[in-house]
Amino acid sequence: MIVFAASDKGGTGRSVTSANLAYHRALAGDDVCYLDFDFGSPTAAAVFDVPDARQAAEDRGLHSYLIGEVGEPLRIDVWSDTEHRVLRNRPPGSGRLVLMPGDLSGGEFATGEENLRRCVDLLLRLNGEFDLIVVDLSAGRSYAVDMVLEATSKREMRGVDFRWLVFHRWTRQHVAAAASLVFGKRGIVAGGVARGHDEDALRSVIRFVRAAVPDPESPLWSQVSATQSAWMRECDRDLKQMSSALGIGYTQVLGSVPLEPVLQWREQLITDEDVLDSQIATRETWDALSDLAGRLTDDKYWEQA
């Protein structure tokens, strides 16, 4: 299964959240590979805390592979190469967790036939090896989005299951932008159909993830005044209505991730130790990530609405 992580704009926590999903699946025993297709600003090395890899990927990363300069993109075994204190101890029963970083000096590039072929080759190859492949895509309607839309429309990829997660923040502007990224005139669905995807089939493999959602019921907000609290509830209600109207309502949502300072500021994997011992991250966040990770492959959440 390939999961493409897209977002309408930057700042949705797409990279860090999808990295956490990869981590949760590896903990559960899956062999997982995380591909950093955010060519403009590769950040995955930082999220997984593998600083050496960042240097090593200088000219051997996905970017160099896709333009044909190296035969294989660099692979980093996160369990063994991370400097993260907790991650270094690979739990028994966990699966492999491999990162394929982007090049430090990558940059966006126009996709040609050859890049596309290499992209297909890579995805086919990883599909034989990993239970889950998470592909983190540059924000917006980017070359990376185009490339994977095109790649997945190829005959060779017909047998490979893939799903899309579209991350957006819980604000009016972000909700509107996410809807437009997917359903807009130049959106993912239209772009996919133009490349030969079946519209219904494509729609059925796209789900939204609401990021940085302040939960009015959360203890975080227990101190706010009654007026503030009422206002928050109203905003939340309005946003839900708006989402529904734009076609990204409840049935299209795979899950929500609470507003979590650790995700926003540290931009790293949240481990159980962050929740249990140092308690810098909340239980709700951990559970939300865990649920989301489970739902990635739970067909119940992907039935057509």
């Binding site: 000219d59 294989e72 029963g93 190859r125 599909n127 034989g128 017909r158």
Partner: protein
């Protein structure tokens, strides 16, 4: 190691074999295997049915003009063709190999391309070949810009993986292995020998051979493919047993996890099935130590025992409901 034409005889053969599970729900039969490996429309795919189903593609050539990988950093330009081929065993395990032979010395200028085309699989160095450094360089792996056997083998695998016959619904996930090998020329009068087999990390294995001058390069390729195939089988089965967490989780689910091994792997063990007779005995040293077949049989026995143990309650149930 014979080569045609007015070229010094090869003193070194270097190769890499990549082995993976065929990404297809069902194993391919002989006809389909021949279709998959039809890399040249006008050349026969060789298909053997005894002692197991084994299909071998025609050889392809890739032109190279670049530095040879050398362990000591010596810069040696070489020009020629690298040969490659693919093999499919029992319609299940796919292998791609790339290899080249090198003579001890070559001309200092590049010749017309036709000169190299009629010497398939031969790469000629400019000047004298640093034999030892090149052998070590190949085993260590190429730096950027150096002759890259892995890239050629991978390119062939990728081409095959795009074939419409493959549905990419493999019955289980598995890793590839890369086996890099070098064969030096044995001193006159000495027979073939397997000098070293090294198990490295990330699925990399290296093999060092010593072969008499008259041994064709393709015989060495065949031997190394056979070694790579069986090493992959061991590697994959061990990984499956690890993942099944036999003993840690309850019986039925562990057995379920091992089911693909029974369906797809256990019947594949057959060392030397397609190795030239003169090289077949090179397996002997691996059978003595570490004992490839011994380990395989132990793993197989373990799986069969588990299946038997799981069957007892079912049997019991069946008997009690009579």
């Amino acid at each position: 190691m014979a080569a045609t034409g007015r070229t010094a005889p090869a003193v070194l053969v270097c190769g890499e074999t990549r082995t993976c599970l065929l990404p297809s729900f069902q194993a391919l039969d002989g006809r389909a295997a021949a279709q998959l490996l039809r890399l040249r429309a006008d050349e026969q795919v060789s298909v053997s049915e005894r002692p197991n189903l084994y299909a071998l593609s025609p050889e392809l050539l890739t032109g190279v003009d670049c530095r040879l990988p050398t362990a000591n950093g010596a810069k040696v330009r070489a020009v020629g063709t690298v040969a490659s081929r693919a093999a499919l065993t029992e319609g299940r395990v796919l292998q791609a190999s790339a290899w080249f032979s090198v003579p001890s010395a070559g001309p200092d200028t590049r010749r017309p391309w036709g000169h190299y085309l009629v010497r398939p699989g031969l790469v000629e160095p400019f000047g004298k070949l640093p034999e030892q450094a090149t052998a070590q360089g190949v085993l260590r792996g190429s730096s950027r810009g150096e002759l890259d056997l892995g890239m050629i083998a991978e390119g062939l695998l990728a081409q095959l993986l795009r074939h419409p016959l493959l549905d990419h619904k493999a019955p289980f996930k598995s890793r590839r292995t890369h086996l890099r090998w070098v064969a030096r020329r044995a001193p006159a009068g000495e027979g073939a020998s397997l000098e070293r087999f090294t198990l490295a990390e990330d699925g990399l294995r290296t093999v060092e051979l010593s072969l008499p001058e008259e041994t064709p390069a393709t015989a060495a390729v065949g031997l190394c493919e056979d070694l790579a195939l069986h090493d992959w089988l061991l590697t994959t089965l061990v990984h499956m047993l690890d993942n099944s967490r036999l003993g840690a989780v309850d019986g039925p689910s562990a057995v379920l996890a091992l089911r693909p091994a029974v369906d797809h792997l256990l019947h594949l063990w057959m060392p030397q099935a397609h190795v030239e007779r003169t090289l077949g005995r090179l397996w002997d040293v691996l059978e003595r130590e570490p004992g490839f077949t011994r380990q395989w049989q132990t793993l197989v026995q373990r799986i069969r025992d588990q299946l038997a143990v799981q069957a007892i309650p079912l049997l019991h149930e069946a008997l009690s409901t009579r």
